[in-house]
């Protein structure tokens, strides 16, 4: 029988954890060895969706919402008068198993407020995960939050039990972190991130040499940045994200539009609603960095430090660089195709494959999946030329695109769409 106490704890600790946006359950493929419960699917499976449209793949809870810190942006800050509670390790593992066996979830996402100190908290979290792995012989996905300041030994141990580790940066610049979270410092957050990156690399090397080396954080690490709680520009945010991808090998950087939970704090900007549109544009820019070969300074610059809210960052790039266009679909190489607004990685690859069989025209492009209403000003193909951005002038194209643009739905983009078969290639 489940006691009322558990119901109440789950409500409080799920509510406390919900502002963390990471939900991925992908990156590890692991079969069930046969005597336990669970496996990890390489592509991740969502099991439900909340009414805000976010996916529920993992049981996302906090070990405890007690916290010794008083960060301005956080709902669990010390000075907030909210009900506080904590799970025991056994409660967490029993809950996870109960939900997992019913196919409600893909795994566990465990985070926590800081109890006493970082190491103490980290030990509690590891205990819960160990209980799950050993007592329940659980083989499914686990995402573990690393508490900044935890000792390297504990992080190392955490990585051996979990599939993914993450340390939340939250604020993109050092001075704003100092303002909003005076008890934290940038270095204490960056240190564990660096350490995890290095350990993953070492572990990969060790596994090549020794057969019996356990895998350390096999699904990599991720982090989250809160958007709109400080005055950091999109340029600051994206520069940090890009450095984390390139130098620290992060799998994902999540952007979380700040939801005004502590509106009484005068250090925070007054927001009527969360900056969902800005968050959406940041995800688009993030995609450009990771899948389209863009550099940060091509998306935002000192001159344009913030993303345009009305048009997507790739269109804005094209309008700032009209001399690159129109691009000839039938001859341009892949990196250049990827710069055309309305052409995604998949359609770019299909264009390259399909044009071997013959020259492509706009009808072909449409079938391939190119968004012609955007692409039309930036391409030439095997037919009569439509006026391009050069002849029309960027400002006019901007207005034309603005007029056809419907208000963008603020949706978090999904990285992994379910695998689907080949899209038609034209001959």
């Amino acid at each position: 029988m489940i006691s009322d106490k558990i119901f109440e704890k789950l409500r409080i600790l799920a509510d406390a954890a919900k502002y963390d946006v990471s939900c991925a359950s992908s990156g590890t493929k692991r079969s069930n060895p046969g005597n336990g419960i669970g496996n990890a699917s390489a592509w991740g499976i969502c099991h439900s969706f909340t009414e805000d449209g976010r996916c529920i793949a993992l049981l996302k809870i906090m070990l405890s919402n007690h916290c010794i810190y008083d960060c301005a942006y956080c709902v669990n800050r010390r000075s907030n008068d909210v009900p506080r509670t904590a799970f025991t390790a056994a409660e967490i593992s029993d809950l996870t198993i109960g939900f997992y066996r019913r196919n409600y979830i893909e795994g566990l996402f465990l985070s926590s407020g800081v109890l006493r100190n970082a190491d103490f908290t980290m030990e509690q979290m590891i205990a819960a995960v160990k209980d799950l792995r050993i007592r329940h012989r659980y083989n499914g996905y686990i995402h573990l939050k690393v508490i900044p300041g935890a000792s390297p030994e504990l992080i190392r141990e955490a990585g051996l039990w979990a599939d993914r580790l993450s340390v939340n940066m939250e604020i993109a610049s050092e001075n704003n972190l100092k303002l909003l979270a005076p008890e934290k410092n940038f270095e204490s957050i960056l240190k564990p991130i660096r350490m995890i990156t290095d350990t993953i690399a070492e572990n990969r090397e060790d596994r090549r040499k020794f057969i019996h080396t356990g895998r350390f954080s096999p699904a990599g690490q991720s982090t989250q940045l809160i958007i709109g709680a400080s005055d950091d520009s999109d340029r600051t945010v994206l520069k940090l994200a890009s450095a984390l991808y390139n130098r620290r090998n992060l799998k994902r950087v999540y952007y979380s539009g700040y939801i005004p939970v502590n509106s009484y704090d005068s250090r925070l900007p007054a927001l009527n609603s969360p900056p969902l549109k800005r968050e959406h544009r940041l995800y688009e820019a993030d995609w450009l960095l990771r899948f389209y070969g863009f550099r940060v300074d091509e998306i935002v610059s000192e001159e344009y430090p913030d993303l345009d809210l009305n048009l997507d960052p790739k269109v804005m790039y094209a309008l700032r660089n009209p001399w690159l266009f129109p691009v000839d679909i039938n001859t341009a190489d892949l990196p250049l195709l990827l710069r055309i607004p309305g052409v995604g990685p998949r359609s770019a690859q299909l264009i390259v494959a399909a044009r071997r069989h013959g020259r492509l025209n706009s009808a072909h492009l449409k079938k391939i999946g190119v968004v012609m209403k955007r692409a039309q000003y930036f391409i030439t193909c095997n037919e009569l030329r439509a006026p391009s951005v050069q002849e029309l002038k960027p400002e006019r194209v901007r207005l034309m695109l603005l007029n056809q643009e419907k208000p963008a739905d603020a949706v978090q983009l999904k990285l992994f769409h379910p695998v689907s078969a080949l899209t038609p290639v034209l001959r």
Binding site: M1, I2, I6, F7, L10, R11, A14, D15, A17, K18, Y19, S31, N32, G34, N35, G36, I37, G38, N39, S41, I45, C46, H47, S48, F49, T50, E51, D52, G53, R54, C55, I56, L59, K60, L95, G98, F99, R101, R102, N103, Y104, R137, G140, G257, I259, S273, P274, L276, D409, A410, V411, P418, V419, S420, A421, L422, P424, V425, L426, R427
Partner: protein
């Protein structure tokens, strides 16, 4: 008009292809089942399913196209769309009669249509993996049932076997009235005579459930309600990802 009738199994359809080549008669229409109505002005061939003949056709597809191509046809067959058997027949003819592998020749409408139906079937199978909800029974085993749009349950079984290897479970398709039972060792196809299940919700009769089961469902609903962020409400996207036809089977969308 030439009509072929088969027993609505995939092996039957492959046998049909074999017989069609043997008789050098190619169907204008393919009908399934044992229906007795005869079609006016039609010459009807009755196909008797023969596993050996079916296997030869299967191997031919693998040889001239690919194993994936053959499996793709099986999945298209599971769509149970009325046009599927004839489409599959035409696809196999293309495969057999072409010198090169036509699998990616999307200028052929038949190939394109196979790929499109296939995608829909695979998507439905993924949804079953996402939205299946087990209920614990009084004996400690787990039960789930629902109504998939296509006959995709067989495709999902390997996934459930791997993931839930140490628990006994039954997954049941209420519309097609069959399911699979796993006893920690092997999976068997089963059919229930009088299943005590609420067809609207897929819920077992309360007397068959573990006493703690409903509490777990309530607990899950509690969690679901707690993680919703009202400031981000977006029903349109919600519905797009979580189609309404699944709602009645999900504890989190039910009111207790």
């Amino acid at each position: 008009m030439i009509v072929f009738r088969f027993d609505n199994t995939f092996e039957g359809l492959l046998t049909l292809v074999f017989e069609s080549y043997r008789l050098k008669q190619f169907p204008d229409a393919i009908v399934g089942g044992t229906g007795s109505q005869s079609l006016l002005f039609a010459h009807t061939f009755e196909v008797v399913t023969d596993d050996a003949k079916a296997e030869r056709v299967w191997n031919k597809i693998v040889e001239k196209s690919s194993a994936e191509s053959a499996h793709r046809l099986y999945r298209v067959f599971l769509s149970e769309l009325p046009e599927a058997p004839l489409l599959i027949f035409r696809y196999i003819r293309l495969v057999v009669e072409s010198k090169v592998n036509i699998e990616t020749d999307f200028s052929q409408p038949v190939v394109l249509e196979v790929v499109q139906i296939h995608r829909k079937v695979v998507r439905e199978a993924q949804r079953i993996q996402m939205f299946t909800r087990f209920q614990q029974t009084a004996e400690g085993s787990y039960y789930a049932s629902f109504v998939p749009q296509y006959n995709v349950l067989p495709l999902c079984i390997p996934h459930f076997c791997d993931r839930f290897a140490d628990q006994e479970w039954i997954i049941y398709d209420l519309r097609r009235n069959f399911g699979f039972h796993y006893d920690r060792k092997e999976v068997v196809r089963i059919t229930f005579e009088n299943l005590r299940v609420n067809p609207q919700t897929g819920q077992l009769h309360p007397s068959l459930l573990d006493p703690g089961e409903l509490q777990f469902q309530r607990l899950w609903k509690k969690y679901y309600d707690a993680v919703f962020i009202p400031q981000r409400k977006n029903i349109k996207v919600h519905r797009q990802f979580l189609p309404k036809r699944f709602w009645s089977y999900l504890p989190e969308k039910r009111s207790f």
